[in-house]
Symmetry: C2
DNA sequence: GTGAAAGCGCTAACAC
DNA sequence: GTGTTAGCGCTTTCAC
């Protein structure tokens, strides 16, 4: 890489003159500015990022900690974060916690050594189960702001971006009840997560408001064979005429299993699931989905963080919790 | 963050003494080392990464440029890269090119300012279509090594990690022919990519080796409604009894479409697709898949790069092209 | 055994 | 209008 020093030497001026010229300082003569800029252009000079970071004590880099990159929703949020960050001149360093508390702690500590200006993260499953939050608090105490999205730790004071999980399943369930569905089941593979619990509660509320059905819930474990479990579940509960699914796979598998057992979809059974448009293609008829607008969640999270990073020194910003509303997109897996 | 300076002041010694003590230099007295280490521990001192990078002229950071993070295969490779990098003490800065040549160039230039020590990347679709490679060559000329994976630019001299695409579809097609399939179609949504073309060629070769069938290919565009196109394709070619799919969705959609049209799978029609285990769950019976071992591809790519970064100054390493072989995993969507 | 000083690349306050 | 200097946090050579 070319440095100011080299340019200065070649031009027979001082380093600071070159620096000022390139930064359009008023102090420098027109002629000099021109000469400097031309040489800089010629040598393709770009200021060394590391030196700038050291000098200005900020890196313009965001640490992103994601529990699972293979989760389509999380990948999409990452995409939203990256886009917003890039737009505002920030890079992202990505760490994957693999749903492990230990790895989450490590990532936080590793990057808190000056590598990043702040964090955008989604809390790991293990962290949620154990209810651990001290590593978050320590990081914030060090002066590194955190923005949490989707799965959040409620007792940590920071900006948050969440989904209206409770309302989403409540409304989805209600919409099925309106079509006279009487035996609506709830299938989830994310029962351990805060968002999974909220989704179940939304479903429960809708069910309990109608006096003629008890909640009917199938909780799958990560290691379960979903196809088999869902098949057995349908076999056991023959009168199911609706399924709300809390994760992206279960809904698709539910439709395909129902079809496989000879049910007509949506005549005999309606299915709605949290999923993305691309996954909804994996069944015929297409899965009706609860869209989470993952992109927007990511963009919002990055936005909140960058706003905080760039606030004036004396300015105080209150911690915000932004709710990104889901949309219910009905396709042919539900009754019109 | 605590700095050496602060520790030095508090201990009434010089900065260099503190530095040496923490780095276990022989020069420093036992007693001093102890005092220094204790205080460092107490204050949770960690060396400032940025200062270290500036001093040592390397960042221990890898730039990763991915065309599309929502592509499950690419996300999995990213996972592999991250894991290997973390294991070897490197961070990754991720940029998403969105299949755009322009964004790929930008990312490369943006990070070539001292932010990273080298790149792991997958060539964007637009870059492949236009056959542009100068930005890669420029980057390498600047002293930043590149490792390409999956989609590679053959006329750039660098390390590469690829899949045996040609062989994979050749073998998959052959395996169907062995089961007496006579009308095997090929469906692809990635016809524009180098890997897509290789996969089609592997299929073609197998088909042309048998004299009784002409290749039957359906190329889908990104914006196409795959369900509809595949349905129409089946309608037009009623005698199809096998499908090889080049991307992860088409295989699933092919099975579901076939079932929807009343075909029995695998009795009437066999399907094999490039896909991951989790996606193979989205049909009943499960899709038989060509596994690409994305994790390993990522790990290998990171490995090649880091080896090159850490080679001794005078050591020359030849450019390697590593082929990660696919595995054909047959499930019940193909005949036993 | 400890410290002073230089230097990585850059900016900015302060001379001249 | 241009240059000198200090300093961001760190390592390392060289004095003492």
């Amino acid at each position: 890489m070319v440095t100011l020093k080299q340019l200065a030497k070649e031009l027979n001026v001082s380093i600071s003159t070159v620096s000022k010229a390139l930064n359009n300082s008023e102090e420098i003569g027109e002629e000099t500015v021109k000469r400097v800029k031309e040489l800089a252009q010629l040598y393709n000079y770009t200021p060394n990022k590391v030196a700038l970071s050291l000098k200005q004590n900020k890196t313009k880099t965001i640490g992103v900690i994601i529990p699972d990159i293979l989760n389509h929703f999380l990948a999409k949020v990452l995409f939203g974060i990256e886009r917003e960050a890039t737009k505002r001149g920030y890079n992202i360093i990505t760490c994957i916690s693999n749903e492990s508390l230990e790895k989450e702690k490590e990532a936080l500590e590793l990057l808190a050594n000056g590598s990043v200006d702040g964090f955008v993260l989604c809390v790991a499953e293990e962290t949620q189960i154990e209810g651990e939050v001290n590593h978050f608090k320590r990081t914030i105490a060090k002066g590194l702001p955190i923005v949490m999205f989707d799965r959040v730790a409620h007792d940590v004071l920071c900006d948050k971006v969440i989904v209206d999980d409770f309302d989403a399943t409540y409304r989805a369930t209600k919409s099925m009840q309106l079509k006279k569905r009487k035996n609506i089941a709830f299938i989830s593979r994310i029962n351990d997560l805060s968002v999974g619990k909220l989704r179940e509660r939304g479903y429960n509320k809708a069910i309990l408001e109608e006096s003629n059905q008890e909640p009917l819930v199938l909780n799958l474990k990560k290691k379960d064979d979903s196809q088999q479990k869902i098949k057995a579940f349908f076999k056991k509960h023959k009168n199911i005429d609706g399924v709300i699914s809390a994760d992206s796979s279960s809904g698709i598998i539910a439709i395909n299993t129902a079809l496989n057992k000879g049910y007509k979809v949506p005549k005999d059974i309606s299915v709605i699931g949290f999923a993305s448009k691309s996954v909804s293609n994996h069944s015929i008829p297409r899965l009706s989905i609860i869209r989470q607008h993952a992109n927007q969640i990511g963009a919002n999270a990055a936005d909140l963080l960058i706003n905080r990073l760039e606030k004036k020194f004396d300015e105080e910003i209150e911690f915000k919790t932004k709710i990104v509303k889901t949309s219910l997109v009905l396709s042919k897996s539900t009754l019109k």
